[in-house]
Amino acid sequence: MKKGLLLLMAMLVLLPSMMFAGGDKETAAPGDGKFKVAFIYIGLPGDLGWTYEQDQGRKMIEDQLGDKVETTYVENVPEGPDAARIIRQYAQKGYNMIFATSFGYMDPMVEVAAEFPDVYFEHCSGYKTSDNLATYFGRMYQARYLSGIVAGKAIGQGEAVGYVAAFPIPEVVRGINAFTIGLRKVNPTATVKVVWTNTWYDPVKEREAAVALLDSGVKLITQHQDTTEPQKAAQERGLVSIGYDSDMGSFVGDSVLVSPKWHWGSYFVKTVQDAMDGTWVSHSYWGGLKEGVVELSPFSSRVPQDVQDMVMAEKDNIVAGSWDVFWGTVKDQDGKVVVADGAKMADGDMLGMNFFVEGVAGNLGQ
């Protein structure tokens, strides 16, 4: 008995070393002429959401630039001071370019970028740049708007949609507003109920929030979170949902009508190529449907063809630049005009958005 137990322990202790030996992706030694790119992830590529899509982008760099580059990533890096240590490690190891994929890495990134002027830094969703630190993000609101149209056609007139949302910050608020504008374009009396979870990633909480919304009588669920739990909760009630981040329909099923999703690959490949060619200059990239950084996933078979056609026509308008989501008239929750008819909301105002549009039944003071 005792011997067996000891054997078991020994196996348990040996197991991880065997596994991690296989999981080590840093195979090449520095200085072999390859352009080396490191990615700092907030979660795991297996979240099927945010980090998954960043990782798809990383894979595209490898696919398209082939032998000239080498990429690696580190997962589950907490935001805050500890991130600086990890980013610095990669800079010291001779990595030429470092992508940090979450807002909270901003200050650590600024700190390390100043120490390594020869390394290129790319930070997702932040607002601080320097000579060797650029930012990148996408106009997700455009794709959210399109998904709102799909939602508006999928529910009855005047019914409610549930929106599981992470934090009341401009990025999330912008998405809720864009979705609502799309929803009410085809369903003028529909409303959006918002529940804040105060977390990006907590499968159980995200599900609880969705269930609370479903209990309150909403007919469709959409979300700004990092997992597919809200989609699953809706599916269990026999209801449809709109995904986010990645093509959630491919993980959950055809109850996910469509997902506004990220597509970082083309931007990543271009900026890495620029850095390799020496033509890279610092920038604040905010691409949209036109640039292909945000897009709609393929539609579920449950979306009727005429709705698909209508959404595609709207998309063409936005891509052509003849219309955008926050062009007047935009009214806030109390019916007050925020953007007058014919006016266009400036990027700066969009980036700092802190009001709900008409049709949202939720509270920003949470």
């Binding site: 137990l5 795991l44 297996g46 918002v194 499968p203 929030a209 269930v211 597919t228 699953k232």
Partner: protein, 317 residues
């Protein structure tokens, strides 16, 4: 209004179930004098092993057994390190959490079928579904208690049994004696090492079941970090229940109910600060701790086992 209260109670019990399993498990472990901070890792391992089993075999019963075995293996490791090797229990527990979290995440990316890129994430398997007990489930409000899944019904039995065993049986008395004063217990002829081994492993088994409830019933499927820190909440719940299994239910309901209530209030449009509500259970825990520090007598009566986290060596004073 009645319907709202009923639905809140129903979801609170479901949310609290995994917490109750883990809390009772940890109470038994701590009562024997062993502090196990490996809960988070053990719950995650319990969850991933249960889901992988149910995905491949379709058997929920087998999934529970595999999950319990996982709990037994991990808690044996902790028991071996902290009882036989007399290692620092905090360090041993934390390393089990780190190990368990990493291994669970790793397995979640390797155990799946090739068609899903070997990911367990995103798969759908069998799950425990709530079923109503005829008659009883029709009573307003209380009906919520009788429309749960089997794991929650089991918890209703475990609470009184755990209390009875601890306070009304000789074995329970021995367990408490070992946690309070292992020297005295040893002198009385109780095998301290064996007692600690048994209850550390029993506790670990229950903790793993708490994890299994998440992946088999509450949020069916596997997602990385499915526990979302519930293992740490349990540590607070043990203090909150003052090491008494019968009180575990109140803490678990409080923690489990907070989200159910605040999400429903939000969905109905009521303004109440979510961070404030999230804070409440922790504040109560701190108050309990402060009270016990202030009142020596209270501490003696309901406080932590005196020998908690103190390694025991026979013949040493």
């Amino acid at each position: 209004m009645i319907a709202l209260i009923t639905s809140i109670l129903a979801i609170t019990l479901r949310a609290g179930t995994s917490l109750i399993y883990a809390t009772i498990g940890e109470i038994y472990t701590e009562r024997s004098g062993i502090l196990n901070l490996g809960l988070e890792g053990m719950m995650l391992m319990g969850a991933v092993s249960a889901f992988a089993t149910v995905y491949y075999t379709g058997s929920l019963g087998l999934a529970l057994i595999v999950s319990m075995l996982t709990g037994i293996v991990l808690s044996s490791l902790h028991a071996f390190l902290s009882i036989t090797m007399r290692a620092n229990q905090v360090v041993s527990g934390l390393s089990i959490t780190l190990f368990g979290t990493g291994l669970a995440s790793f397995l979640g990316q390797r155990l799946g079928p090739a068609s899903n890129g070997h990911y367990l994430i995103g798969l759908i398997g069998e799950k425990f579904t709530p079923f109503a007990i005829p008659g009883l489930s029709k009573i307003p409000v209380i009906g919520a208690v009788f429309s749960q899944d089997i794991l929650t019904y089991i918890v209703y039995l475990i609470i009184p049994v755990a209390w009875f065993y601890m306070y009304k049986t000789k074995n329970g008395l021995n367990l408490r004696a070992v946690g309070e004063s292992p020297q005295t217990a040893d002198a009385m002829g109780i095998n301290v090492y064996r007692t600690r081994y048994i209850y550390t492993i029993v506790g670990g088994t229950l903790v793993a079941l708490g994890g299994a409830h998440l992946s088999l019933s509450y949020a069916p499927g596997w997602t990385d970090n499915i526990t979302g820190g519930r293992g740490w909440i349990v540590i607070a719940l043990v203090i909150f229940s003052m090491w008494n299994p019968s009180r575990a239910i109140w803490g678990a309901l409080l923690f489990g109910g907070i989200n159910a209530i605040q999400f429903r209030l939000q969905a109905t449009g009521t303004t109440i600060s979510a961070p404030f509500l999230n804070m409440l259970p922790y504040i109560v825990t701190i108050v309990v701790l402060v009270l016990m520090t202030w009142f020596e007598t209270l501490n003696k009566k309901v406080g932590a086992p005196a020998a908690l986290a103190v390694p025991y060596m026979r013949g040493e004073k």
